[in-house]
């Protein structure tokens, strides 16, 4: 291998380090207007009137929209939302009106002059109370606040619990987590004279936005082109169609000029989707010899006021629940609910961090109760290569044993501190996640074209999207390897739009390296064959360089264009109604070992050291894989230790970076990454997806280390000093 496995610097890193990358906030089109959305300050209420007459008097205003100016058709996963709300508001931040003006100050002033009358209704914020009889119903046509129920079962759960030597149970509470991507949310819309819309949009799903936005605007998807600027972080936040995308498009059409709609940071915190608040009630049973027997989960997930991907997080939970460990019996129920709060969406890990906090805590509790080493207990019940699980998951490459053993070898019990108020402990937790795509849509495919020009340079045009993880670089390395040319001779066409790029379902589910990588590899292989065919036809020697062969082929009549396209869709299926099936062509395994120090007087727990071992199949670029692992570990550390949306009467109280603290450079522990390369048979050069898995096990590993240090079992994130201190006090 010449290119695969190399620590190639990211192809876009130099531009980003030079300040040359263009994000949505950097786009400026001639005549472009700036837009502002007027949002509800009432969490639940009936809209009596929205009067925009005074707003028109502000100089510079070019368009104002309210609900009566736009298509009335509801859209979204549960068909429960519109771009602007006309009859009811269901959360603080609901879109009431929107203004486009020549400058942002005018747009803001116009919004302030719009007179809104809302008759307040009783609201419900709590995810348990929202299902109680008599709770205010958000969407009356739906009958109740229950969005959907997900069920799963295998084995005889009741019998397994009855014969168990040890059963542990607990309730685990997880907060809403903000994506807090540093690049603000926004979109720029422009219409051409033929009535075609171009939307510059940092979305993760350009082709699905093409479909969904066309539906929301009541236009043909053929008249819509999505162009992605550089994306300033996403982590799942840009995985759906959101009202602001439709609003920007509608304002631009009304004004007859390009419109840019950018969120302020507090707008981002208050209104953009979050990881759902979740409550997991779990019981796990084991035999005296440490054989896992059964688990039983009952879960509540918040959707907020409108349904987006939050309601589907149980699908990933189920995948773990039915597949992870050799567990002969399992029963699962998850209900998703509407509340008068911020809508919830996809966030890296997608339900798995929530579920595995509970599962991996109880694995630790059982190991302790049965006097087994936590890693030996996991090894005893670990999945193995080439097995089919009761859920129908087909395990192929499986480095579970290797990641557990790597952590066991590297995580050493620290010496006890001299200070009596400081306690040190160690803890581990493991993860199972999709690593070969995830068939949650009917397609899990991606297309790619590889062309080679007369200068020997290859261009890759691929449907996949980069959100910072290094998609372009990985694709260039795969193409270079297959073509037998240096990475420096490969370009990946970035910021290409949906008119040019081949289909891709989007960047999610840790799928891009695996799915897009396979598509690029297939296309490159075919392009290479075309070059070799030309070499033979032209009778050029085997050592004639690629550029010479291609030039000779392109410079003759009846020559052939050196360009090949391929489509890859993995050999998987959607789950059936009982949530059985094999959604991914490969699964990834990981284990985190953590050392913490707890101050038992203040409750402050500090993570000192992390060993993060992951089965990555094969690292196409070890430096970028390490970056995914380190980034995931630190994001998961924030979720476990201090990130939380504090809600009061439906309003987030801490919607600034000062109060909603994401990890800073001084919060970062010593992180040692271990890459286990199992060489997946289906992955491109053996690679598996690794984007999400690293955020999952860090939280329960920290909780288990706190238990080891203090004897106190934390079952709520974030594990703030106050919460730890209260548990310590209660345990005395």
């Amino acid at each position: 291998m010449k290119s695969v496995g190399e620590r190639v610097p990211k192809l876009d890193a130099a531009d980003k380090a030079a300040g040359k990358a263009r994000y949505v906030q950097d786009l400026r089109l001639p005549g472009m207007l700036e837009a502002k959305v007027l949002r509800s300050t009432v969490p639940h209420g009936r809209i009596v009137s929205v009067d925009v007459s005074e707003a028109w008097k502000v100089r510079g205003v070019r368009a104002i929209l309210t609900a009566k100016d736009i298509p009335a058709k509801a859209w979204g996963y549960a068909k429960d939302t519109t771009a602007l709300k006309g009859d009811r508001v269901r959360r603080i931040g609901d879109e009431l009106a929107a203004v486009a003006a020549t400058d942002i100050e005018a747009a803001i002033e116009a919004c302030e002059r719009i007179k809104v009358v809302i008759e307040p209704l009783p609201a419900v914020y709590d995810i348990e109370a929202t299902l109680a009889p008599g709770a205010p119903v958000l969407h009356e046509s739906k009958g109740s606040n229950l969005v959907q129920t997900h069920h799963y079962e295998h084995g005889d759960v009741a019998a397994a619990f009855a014969k168990a030597a040890k059963v542990v149970e607990g309730t685990f509470t997880l907060p809403a987590q903000q994506h807090a991507a540093l690049g603000p949310v926004g979109a720029v819309a422009e219409w051409d004279a033929n009535g075609r819309l171009t939307l510059h949009d940092p979305t993760q799903i350009p082709f699905l936005v093409q479909r969904d936005l066309a539906e929301a605007l009541d236009i043909s998807p053929a008249d819509l082109r999505i162009v992605q600027p550089a994306i300033g972080g996403a982590f799942g936040a840009r995985l759906d169609l959101y009202p602001h995308e439709a609003i920007a498009a509608l304002l631009a059409r009304k004004a007859g000029a390009p419109v840019r709609l950018l969120f302020s940071r507090d707008e981002d915190f208050q209104t953009d989707p979050v990881r759902p608040r979740t409550i997991v009630k779990l019981r796990t049973a084991a035999a005296a010899d440490g054989t896992l027997l059964a688990r039983d989960a009952d879960i509540l997930v918040d959707c907020g006021a409108y349904v987006s991907w939050g309601s589907m997080t149980p699908v990933v939970m189920v995948n773990t629940f039915g597949n992870f460990y050799q567990c002969p019996a399992a029963k699962f129920r998850a209900r998703t609910v509407w509340t008068n709060t911020q809508p919830t969406g996809a966030f890296r890990g997608f339900g798995n961090p929530e579920l595995l906090f509970a599962v991996e805590t109880q694995m630790d509790e059982l190991a302790r109760a049965l006097k087994l080493d936590p890693i030996e207990f996991r090894l005893k019940n670990a999945n193995r290569p080439e097995e089919v699980t009761p859920a129908g998951g087909r395990i192929t490459s499986c480095g579970f044993k290797e990641v557990l053993e790597a952590v066991k070898a590297k995580l050493k019990r620290p010496a006890a501190p001299a200070e009596p108020h400081l306690k040190r402990g160690i803890g581990v937790a493991a993860v199972f996640h999709v690593g070969g795509g995830a068939r949650i849509y009917r397609s899990d495919g991606c297309g790619a074209t590889v062309k080679v020009d007369d200068f020997g340079k290859a261009t890759v045009i691929v449907g996949a999207t980069d959100i910072g993880q290094g998609m372009e670089t990985a694709m260039a390395q795969i193409a270079a390897e297959e073509l037998g040319i240096p990475v420096s001779m490969v370009r990946v066409a970035t910021q290409a739009d949906t008119d040019v790029r081949p289909w891709d379902v989007g960047v999610h589910a840790s799928r891009t390296t695996f799915i897009a990588g396979n598509a690029v590899r297939l296309a490159a292989k075919e392009a290479k064959k075309q070059i070799e065919d030309a070499r033979a036809a032209l009778k050029l020697p085997p050592d004639a360089p690629v550029d010479k062969v291609v030039r000779a082929e392109h410079f003759r009549q009846k020559g052939r264009l050196i360009s090949a396209s391929a489509f890859y869709d993995p050999p998987t299926s959607m789950v059936d109604k009982a949530n059985h099936g094999n959604v991914s062509a490969a699964y990834t395994w990981g284990c985190h070992g953590v050392e913490v120090e707890v101050d038992v007087e203040t409750g402050q727990a500090v993570v000192k050291r992390v060993v993060a071992a992951h089965d990555v199949g094969r690292a196409i670029n070890p430096m970028l894989v390490e970056g995914q692992i380190e980034g995931g570990v630190v994001q998961g550390l924030g979720y476990a230790m201090f990130e939380e949306c504090v809600l009061k009467d439906g309003r987030m109280q801490n919607g600034f970076f000062l109060d909603y603290r994401i990890p800073g450079i001084k919060d970062v522990p010593d992180i040692e990454t271990v890459l286990v390369e199992t060489g997946d048979p289906e992955g491109p050069f053996g690679a598996k997806g690794i984007g999400e898995a690293p955020i999952v096990p860090i939280g329960p590993a920290i909780a288990n280390a706190i238990a080891d240090a203090t004897g106190v079992r934390m079952r709520e994130f974030p594990m703030t000093p106050e919460r730890v201190w209260r548990e310590l006090r209660n345990s005395r």
Partner: protein, 143 residues
């Protein structure tokens, strides 16, 4: 009001409203969009510039306070098309993911060993720490 300052080594004369911030003027009047606007409340550090050699968040400085100052933005670090050693170290060490925070992070790292005022949501900071150590090793070799 009329403001004179030096930006990336060039004298600049401006006539701008006094309530505007330095970051806004750099981005929107001078086209220096490498000055990223991440929060506008001084908390994220994405808009960091060097102000008379000291890193500051340009979203919190009103433009009258920049009178006579020398300001360096990320665009000013690249000389004759060649990256500054800190830019090069960030690229080589894999410290860039989405890249939004990176211009501010690089400018802060020129002056601080631990840029604790600059937030990054992607990298987990470890490769940023490695890049800073690498730049120090190259530019300040021990005697």
């Amino acid at each position: 009001m009329k403001i004179n300052l030096t930006v990336n080594g060039h004298a600049v004369a401006l006539d701008v409203a006094p309530h505007r911030t330095l970051g806004d003027v750099l981005r929107n009047d001078l086209g220096l969009t490498g000055v990223r606007e991440g929060c506008s409340t001084g908390d994220c550090g994405a808009c960091t510039v060097l102000f008379n050699g000291t890193p500051i968040v340009s979203c919190l400085m009103l433009i009258p306070d920049a009178e006579g100052a020398s300001v360096v933005t990320i665009e000013g670090l690249t000389k004759d098309g060649r990256p500054d050693p800190m830019q090069a170290a960030f690229v080589e060490k894999g410290a860039v993911q989405c890249g939004f925070c990176i211009p501010g992070m690089i400018l802060a790292s020129k002056a601080e060993d631990v840029p604790e005022g600059n937030l990054c949501r992607c990298t987990g900071y470890k490769k940023i720490q490695e890049a800073i150590r690498e730049e120090r090793r190259r530019t300040r070799p021990q005697a």
